[in-house]
């Protein structure tokens, strides 16, 4: 297809540029923008009569109306893929930025991908043991799941993500063809370095593909970063049969870039200035996780997002929670108390665990212990609220037992070392130990047989 080139713009407005009198341009096509010898990339976001509106990934700073030249490349934004991407580092729109060469052999793929046909999906059922008790027992991760970490500034989400990545394994299976795709959107250099160096230590680096858009990189480029990363992940998973874990951080920065773009386009905002299509936009990325019938590979997503003001009802965590298959919520109060990992159990959830736990998968008592721990721990919160009013001594005996249970639950069960890798059996046993503080009549969600088998009253 002939490449079309134009010189001169009609308007520059925030991250958008407008060009008049263009012909034969297609919607979403990529353009290369050259000014004074340096080039940047953009994408057509609207076409009206002979005018094209283009969003510029690297921002419009320093562009001029008359001397900017625009080449329409006649294709959507693509990334070139082959197995050579493993071990490589790219920028936020998929160009290599490490010392390595260009990807030479390879196939181009549109970064927007295509929706998986729901009839082609395979329901994920293989649980991943992370070695983290709170996660394995109470929000079991399943291969092919999308399970975000909801965090806040300064909370150890990166440490937890790294620990999960390092320890994750499927029972009774070789680690096999495993790859990590790491997409950084607007995070600080030190956070990125921390994550990458941990991959290096574990020797996984040769299986990691990195896409970096750091805090000081162009904002609008972030719109492309997760899509580029997921396109690479789809290639590795569904064409090369690898099990891919995608870590995307920080989705909040992505959403802010989207808001900036939407505002520049003069769109009617929905909550907190975010565009009304934020849900669909996020879904177009999160739904790229999963498994496909007849294909060996899988995509598991572990997006990280910081909740502005720790507010879980903020549109970003809220809409994310409506799309992902659960969430792991980190809690500032627990972190202050010195609990690591500071997981807020009651707010966390894994929607896919139900078919992957229990007899034949983990252990027969798992589903009931799971349910009982939630019930008991939520009771602990009520009792603590009461104790803060009337004093702990005034509590009835049963409530005192709940206080003891709550403390042990946080200190013995949730708390564990950053290098501590607990097996599922061990996790379940600790759970029973903690439940030992409650009288067995309270364990109404556990069957009589299981109580018979596993329960031991704890007297200390």
């Amino acid at each position: 297809m002939p490449v079309k080139e134009y010189i001169g713009l009609s308007k520059i407005d925030g991250p958008l540029i407008f060009i008049k009198k263009v012909k034969n341009i297609s919607y979403n096509e990529v353009v290369e923008i050259t000014y004074k010898g340096s080039s940047r990339f953009g994408q057509v976001v609207m076409l009206s009569n002979d005018t094209a509106v283009i969003q510029v990934f690297q921002g419009t700073e320093g562009l001029s109306i008359d001397k900017t030249s625009i080449r329409f490349l006649g294709r959507p934004l693509e990334i070139k893929l082959s197995e050579d991407i493993l071990g490589r580092t790219f920028n936020g729109i998929g160009m290599p930025i490490d010392e390595g060469s260009r990807i030479i052999r390879g196939e181009y793929r549109d970064i927007n991908g295509e929706p998986i046909n729901p009839a082609s999906r395979m329901y994920p059922r293989n649980y991943i043991e992370t070695g983290v008790s709170a996660i394995d027992l109470l929000m079991t991760v399943v291969r092919g799941q999308k399970l975000p970490i909801f965090s806040g500034n300064g909370l150890p989400h990166n440490r937890l993500a790294v620990q999960i990545t390092r320890q994750a394994r499927i029972k009774g299976e070789e680690r096999g063809r495993f790859a990590i795709v790491f997409a950084a959107m607007g995070i600080k250099h030190d956070s990125a370095r921390y994550i990458l160096s941990s991959f290096e230590e574990s020797g996984a680096l040769k299986n990691v593909v990195t896409f970096l858009n750091l805090a000081d990189d162009p904002t609008i480029e972030r719109i492309a970063t997760p899509r580029v990363a997921l396109t690479a992940a789809e290639y590795l998973a569904f064409e090369k049969g690898m099990h891919v874990l995608v870590i995307m951080t920080d989705m909040t920065n992505y959403c802010e870039a989207l808001r900036e773009l939407s505002t520049a386009r003069g769109e009617v905002p929905s909550r907190k200035g975010y565009p009304g299509y934020l849900y669909s936009d996020l879904a177009s990325m999160y739904e790229r996780a999963g498994m496909i019938k007849g294909k060996k590979g899988s995509i598991t997503q572990l997006p990280i997002l910081s909740m502005p003001n720790d507010d879980i009802t903020h549109p970003i965590p809220d809409l994310t929670g409506y799309i992902t298959e659960g969430q792991i919520v980190l809690d500032r109060d627990l972190y202050r108390k010195g609990v690591y990992p500071p997981i807020n159990i009651l707010l966390s959830l894994s929607r896919l665990m139900k078919d992957s736990i229990g007899e034949g998968y983990t252990r027969l008592d798992h589903p009931h212990v799971y349910s009982q721990l939630f019930a008991a721990y939520s009771r602990v919160h009520e009792v603590r609220a009461l104790a803060s009013i009337i004093g702990e001594e005034e509590l009835i005996d049963l409530d005192k037992m709940y206080m003891k249970f709550g403390k042990a639950f946080e200190e013995e069960f949730i708390t564990q070392g950053e290098d501590e890798n607990r097996a599922m059996e061990e996790t379940l046993d600790i759970a029973w130990k903690v439940l030992g503080y409650l009288p067995k009549e309270e364990l109404t969600r556990i069957s009589r047989d299981e109580i018979e088998r596993f329960y031991n009253k704890r007297e200390d």
Partner: protein, 595 residues
Amino acid sequence: MEQKTGKLYMINGPVVKADNTSSFMMHEVVRVGKIGLIGEIISLEDDRATIQIYEETTGLKIGEPVRSSGKLLSVMLGPGMIGNVYDGIQRPLEVLRNRSGDFLKRGVEVLPIDFKHEWDTEILIKDGDTVKPGQIIATVDETSSFTHRIMIPPGVSGTVNNVRTSGRYTVDTVIAEIDDGGDKYNLTMFQNWPVRTPRPYKKRLAVDEPLITGQRVIDTFFPLNKGGAACIPGGFGTGKTILQHQFAKWSDADVIVYIGCGERGNEMTEVLEEFPELKDPRNGKPLMERTILIANTSNMPVSAREASIYTGVTIAEYFRDMGYHVAVMADSTSRWAEALREISGRLEEMPAEEGFPPYLSSRLADFYERAGKVSALGNESLGSVSIIGAVSPPGGDFSEPVTTHTKRFTRCFWALDKSLANARHYPAINWLTSYSENIGDVKEWYSKTVSRDFFKLRNEALALLNEDDRLQQIIKLVGEDVLPDDQKLTVRAASLIKIGFLQQNSYSKVDCFASLNKQYKMLKIMLVFYEKARELISLGVAISEILKGSILNTLMRMKEEVSNDNVEKITAIGKELESFCMALKKKYSGKPDNM
């Protein structure tokens, strides 16, 4: 048919504009661009048209053609729909998969029903008969448990000729010719109907029969009518989808239309994998043999999401017209409303509340009004469409527009509560804020079918829960210890109802579905316990004595330990309860009598 062609002059995501379109119809289906994307005209002005496109628009160019089809956006109705999974505009996803692989490609045209399959057809008319709209003229056993009744389409009538004899036919076979004195009409086994127009019926009927769902908190406390509409609002993770799946599995409807409207792909896969394995409790047949899925997941095009609920409800009306009870689940109507908002935004319409277009409320009303119980056109049989819509309020705040408007047009409100869900109390339906306005209509049915005192027990239980709520406010401030024994008992009895009755685990083999008989017997014995215990306390028995026995634990576990086909076991538990109380009474008063 004449081919009219417009020309694109604006492209903005799923919304495009074309000119030279003065002869196009409102809501007509068009093919857009060289690749032939499917679109629908959503506004017309002079010779310009605005079109929403049901597929990704990447690659479209200004000046590309827009071709007319002469048809409104319609569904194709006939044998072969049951067990299928469609996208929002009724394209069968299995066929798309065979045609173009695991990822959805654009511009693919496929038939909604299989034209090659030959159905065993029993023809019910003969030459010379006169037929009228809605009349059933043939039957096809579409699945082992479902009979498809072939009807004369609305608007068609006359005398039939050249009627075929019963035999094996494809859906497009002309099985008779209808002569209305002027035109001839070739009658086949399928018909088309525009999705945005409700199908006609003879008469709307009063709704007086519940849709039994097997979920205790619904059937016993907040029942939905066959032909009614319900709203399930709830923040993420509160259990909307699981509840909808439960209805799809266990409710006593003849046909289920499940619309996955802008939600997760894996949730549809789950249904597709699970339903063929699950048995309908009423006839032992696989549940898939009465189910139709519409899967327009969140990552599929938003315009098709907008259309999906109309596609679903039109299919439901078609089965209603055969005299069946149909239940429609839409998960989630908020995603549909967002699609409406997005398209409206691209049209640069003036927004009303929270960016939603001002017509949000009337569109919701139109949709929910398509629920109802009717006597069908032409065949007088009774059919109904019930609609259960999930609502996903931002931040779980029920004061937002979609929840508040939906509430106006539905008579059942099942409010899902975040704190119940956090404690894994499922279904997390809040018993204080939820309601059903159907109680008056179905009272008699319950009296006749289950028991005369059914609603008396229900009201007692609700009163108990209300009293408990009042006591909980006090407990929060001063603790349970200071309450007198009778109030402590109220709290314990309420807790029994909450844990032993209201909580119902969807993943439990025994308890996922509870027959009405089981529900009734469970509630009855729990209230008997409360009554007897109250009497004991008034005699001076200490509450600790009552709680010490194993009876409370037995009552709590009844839901798991008594299966639907062994409800008699509750009678035995009743005896145990009686002797337990008797013993206590004896101990305290020294003289037994019949209490």
